[in-house]
């Protein structure tokens, strides 16, 4: 019954590591490649440090990105496509007047994250790469030992769905569904090259291997699509208006021809290990003016893809039912005034 590993302690102190502070993206990428799989980059640390204290992750090398040049700030124009450095803090984004005016959806998502103090620390990059969450997992080592661990860390069964081959820990980033919905692109750099992918391509429906990004790849830029006749919004369900992660997030986007929807995308957050596209719901909106009927129909269609499981706050059944209400709300936002 007793624990084994030296590092596997339950104290709310960090595990031990070697700390590196590169100054450039290239140095960071090289350090990451050199240190291998036991290394981890850290941005604001608001996700990684709690995980280290609970011994989910015990990286031997930490590569701090705080001092890397060129990874912070917002550049470009909304019309040409804003470019955001992943080390930009959530507070900095929230206070950026251009972001607020041109990307109200992103602004709402960012504003809804955690608390004002945590937003001073947390970054957009960290939010995009946020670990998946599950209340059988986000617990101290001792607690997890008492349940005999689970597949995501130190064990082999998924307690949420004991038959499941994959971990169902939940994608809990507030920006992820929004960035997927608006079609943001992510720039990845490693020691061996670089590439750009669509935001939704980053995520995988596997609570353990939830990112398609290789461990040696750094996220170096988030590129927002040019603003031209589209609107976006974000709606979040959670118990308290501060601290709490989403138990349902709705990122919605639509482009318009006058009042008529040309194209639409809806992504649901926190109902699966990855943001989930409600494609049929979105498709049903094309050609409508987001009139109440159309909104109601789309909300019903979004209910299907939402597959929450019992590993977050609130009753699963109720969370699923709320999908309709929150999608409806998001579409009403898009209809606007």
């Amino acid at each position: 019954m007793a624990g084994s590993g030296e590092n596997k302690t339950a104290m709310m102190r960090l595990s031990k590591f070697k700390y590196l502070a590169p100054r450039s993206v290239n140095d960071a990428a090289k350090m990451l490649a050199d240190a291998g799989p036991t290394a981890s980059v850290v941005a604001g640390g608001t996700d990684l440090y709690p995980n280290m204290k609970r011994r989910h992750q015990t990286p031997k090398t930490l590569i701090g990105l705080r001092r890397v040049e060129g990874m912070r700030g917002v550049s470009g124009t909304p019309e040409g496509g804003l470019r955001i450095g992943p080390m930009t803090t959530l507070t900095a984004l929230e206070r950026n007047a251009t972001v607020k005016a041109a990307h109200p959806g992103l602004w709402k998502a960012v504003h809804s994250i955690s608390t004002p103090i945590l937003r001073n620390m947390g970054t957009l990059g960290g939010n995009i790469c946020l670990d998946t969450r599950c209340n059988y997992y986000d617990q101290n080592y001792e607690w997890r030992r008492a349940i005999n661990f689970c597949m995501k860390c130190d064990g082999d069964t998924c307690w949420v769905a004991p038959g499941s081959k994959v971990c169902l820990a939940v994608s809990s980033s507030d920006t992820a569904p929004l960035l997927c919905a608006i079609g943001a692109r992510l720039h990845l750099v490693s020691a061996t090259g670089e590439r750009e992918i669509a935001a939704h391509e980053l995520y995988r429906r596997d609570g353990i291997h939830f990112l398609s990004k290789r461990p040696d790849e750094l996220l170096t830029e988030i590129v927002l699509p040019a603003t031209n006749g589209w609107r976006s919004t974000y709606r979040k369900l959670r118990r308290r208006e501060a601290f709490d992660f989403p138990v349902l997030g709705v990122g919605a986007w639509a482009s318009f021809d006058g009042p008529v929807v040309k194209e639409a995308r809806i992504f649901l957050g926190a109902v699966s290990p990855a943001p989930v596209e409600a494609a049929e719901a979105a498709k049903s909106l094309v050609g409508t003016r987001l009139e109440p009927d159309a909104v109601a129909r789309a909300s019903d269609l979004a209910y299907g893809p939402a597959k929450p499981v019992d590993n977050t706050d609130f009753l699963t059944r109720w969370r699923k039912e709320m999908t309709k209400v929150y999608v409806k709300g998001a579409l009403e936002d898009l209809r606007g005034s």
């Binding site: 709690p50 204290k53 608390t115 004002p116 103090i117 001073n120 620390m121």
Partner: protein, 179 residues
């Protein structure tokens, strides 16, 4: 007696806390919270979870409230840190400290250091915050004692006193309502 210890390499660096530069040596995996409390004897900064879930450990880093339990000590090199011990101006309490004490905004006083610092950052930025702004700015600090109301009132009183040192709280705040 078994006193042989696993070797620990400490980092040795300078951090500016409450306007003074200190040279401290500590294990590299220590958080700022641990460095302040254990290596610098500044126990005014409290802790309630060490996981970012309560706000009790809030300090100011370069003027911004941050959670000292989720910042590495060694990442603070060259930064300006203010803890509750650094709020007063010599023997003169900060108007926030004064108003919190006067209005009972500190009951057990455990969440108080963190809330004072979050409030200071707010007042530094907005000398006239409306109630909703205060509510929002303090939404990352849990308090189990006060129900927050005396805290809002104390922040508002301090804001007024920063302009007019003679400002006084209303009768309702001091004695309750009447119908």
């Amino acid at each position: 007696m078994k006193t042989r210890l696993p070797r620990k390499r400490k980092v040795h660096l300078r951090i500016r806390v409450n306007g003074e530069t200190h040279e401290v040596a500590f294990a590299p995996h220590k958080t700022l919270l641990e460095v302040l409390r254990e290596d610098m004897g500044l126990t005014g900064t409290k802790h309630g979870c060490e996981l970012g879930e309560c706000g009790t450990c809030t300090v100011l880093i370069d003027g911004e409230p941050q959670l000292s339990c989720l910042v590495l000590g060694l990442e603070c090199e060259g930064m300006d840190i203010i803890t509750v011990e650094g709020l007063a101006d010599g023997p003169q309490p900060h108007p926030l400290q004064q108003s919190f004490a006067e209005l009972g905004a500190a009951q057990c006083g455990y969440c108080t250091p963190g809330i004072l610092l979050a409030s200071k950052a707010l007042l530094d930025e907005d000398p006239n915050p409306p109630r909703d702004r205060i509510r929002e700015a303090l939404s990352g600090n849990l308090c189990r004692c006060t129900g927050y109301i005396k805290i809002y009132e104390a922040v508002e009183l301090a804001a007024r006193r920063l302009k007019d040192p003679k400002a006084e709280p209303s009768r309702e705040i001091l004695r309750g309502y009447e119908v």
